[in-house]
């Protein structure tokens, strides 16, 4: 049998088993934005029986970046002699007044980079400028930023710094598990975050909160198989952290990456857009690296958090409503003219729903 035929027949088997096991309603949250896109793109919601609900969680790092952090990096990007190096996702995220794209049109030096290596190279080549990398992302991205800070320290690259807005996943999972208004039976855990941190940091989800969890890959088949695994856990009365994505995720994660994170960053309290302050959910740069910490290197004003009136990103991020239940969705807020961050980032739940024209998920 051809591999592709084999895959199709596997998908059929998974769907049949889901049908059998999902006699009662079952609500699953996919925590990761990359899963949100994979689910939307493959129209998985349409394939699943009506009893299985998939809702999106707060797993798009761009979406959960607080408006005060956005205003802060926009202030920094507008300073003379500063080159802002960022992943492309951030370029159109609206601050209170402007975004990076607008600042660039006004003359600010904003560069889209593919990796922190590119940002370091910019610093090596522009000694008369200050290169600031916008540190946004979860544990998947954090080690790549940690390596850049260690390299800058070792090579003595003094004109490179990072504005860390990094966040970690386990504390927000705990918050979701404790949210009375949120009815989630089980979780699809982010495969690439767990490739770094392993499963120990999220074990409390199964042990303390009794929720079935499956660490999941990003192909349609991975997600279907993970849903089967979650349903089997319910059927057998189990709540465990299982790994569907075994070809990549090891129980212990990536020890080298974890060591880099630990060496360069320390846990701090952080504000999540639409969710609020979560203790120990952010990563600050340790004192030994303060010369490369943009928050210490530049004197930056403190901005107040603001929410856009009418925008319900917060409820979308917590899985309380589907994107289509926001009054702005598709009318006043579209990917071309985004109001909230969930519509700006291609991995935001609203953008994914809009782009792939999903049913609301009733």
């Amino acid at each position: 049998m051809k591999k592709s035929e084999d895959h199709l027949s596997k998908a059929g088997d998974y769907l049949a088993e889901i049908q059998t096991l999902a006699q009662r309603p079952f609500t699953i949250m996919e925590v990761c934005g990359t899963h949100t896109v994979a689910i939307a793109k493959n129209a998985l919601r349409e394939l699943l029986p009506a009893t299985v609900h998939l809702i999106s969680g707060p797993g798009c790092p761009v979406c959960v970046t607080d408006s005060s952090d956005i205003d802060r990096y926009l202030y920094l990007a507008a300073q003379p002699k500063v080159i802002t190096a960022t992943f492309g996702d951030m370029i159109r995220v609206p601050g209170t007044e402007k975004n990076l794209q607008v600042l660039r049109a006004e003359g600010a030096d904003v560069r889209i980079v593919y990796s922190t290596q590119d940002a370091l190279e910019l610093a090596r080549k522009n000694k008369d400028k200050e290169v600031v990398f916008l540190g946004i992302g979860f544990e998947t991205t954090v080690p790549t930023v940690a390596v850049s800070l260690e390299t800058a320290k070792q090579e003595g690259i003094e004109n490179y710094s990072v504005l860390s807005m990094h966040k970690v996943v386990p504390p927000v999972l705990r918050l979701l598990a404790e949210d009375d208004k949120l009815v989630v039976d089980a979780f699809l855990d982010p495969g690439h975050v767990c490739a770094i941190i392993g499963i120990e940091p999220i074990e409390f989800m199964a042990k303390d909160y009794g929720k079935p969890n499956v660490v999941t890959g990003f192909e349609a088949l991975d997600i279907l198989e993970a849903i089967v695994m979650l349903l089997r856990q319910r059927d057998e009365g189990r709540s465990e952290i299982e790994i569907q994505y075994q070809r990549v995720v090891k129980v212990e994660g990536n020890i080298h990456a974890k060591r880099f994170i630990e060496q360069v960053f320390e846990p701090i309290d952080a504000s999540w857009r639409g969710i609020g302050r979560i203790p120990q959910s952010g990563l600050g740069i340790r004192g030994e690296y303060s010369a490369w910490d943009a928050a210490k290197k530049f004197s930056l004003p403190i901005f107040r958090s603001k929410e856009t009136p009418g925008c319900r990103c917060g409820d979308v991020l917590k899985g309380r409503i589907y994107p289509t239940q926001c009054p702005l969705f598709g009318k006043f807020c579209t990917p071309m003219k985004p109001v909230g961050p969930c519509m700006v980032s291609s991995e935001g739940s609203c953008a994914a729903h809009y782009r792939y024209a999903q049913r609301s998920g009733d």
Partner: protein, 75 residues
Amino acid sequence: MCLAIPAKVVTIDRSMAKVDMMGNERVVSIDLVPEVTIGEYVLVHAGFAIGIIDAESAKETEELLLEVAMAYEEE
């Protein structure tokens, strides 16, 4: 943002490796997977190999991709 793409390690020069990413050659950092050897498959995120992929499934994925590519060519 947590997207990562599989690639095969072709050559290694200290902390950098040349990889074959579905036919495209890229240079990526292997600081996070120092134990990687030539011929192994890694998962690349933002210019860094962040994990080594189990060899058997990497081969399976490659076969699948080749089949899909051939199906497109036949059309």
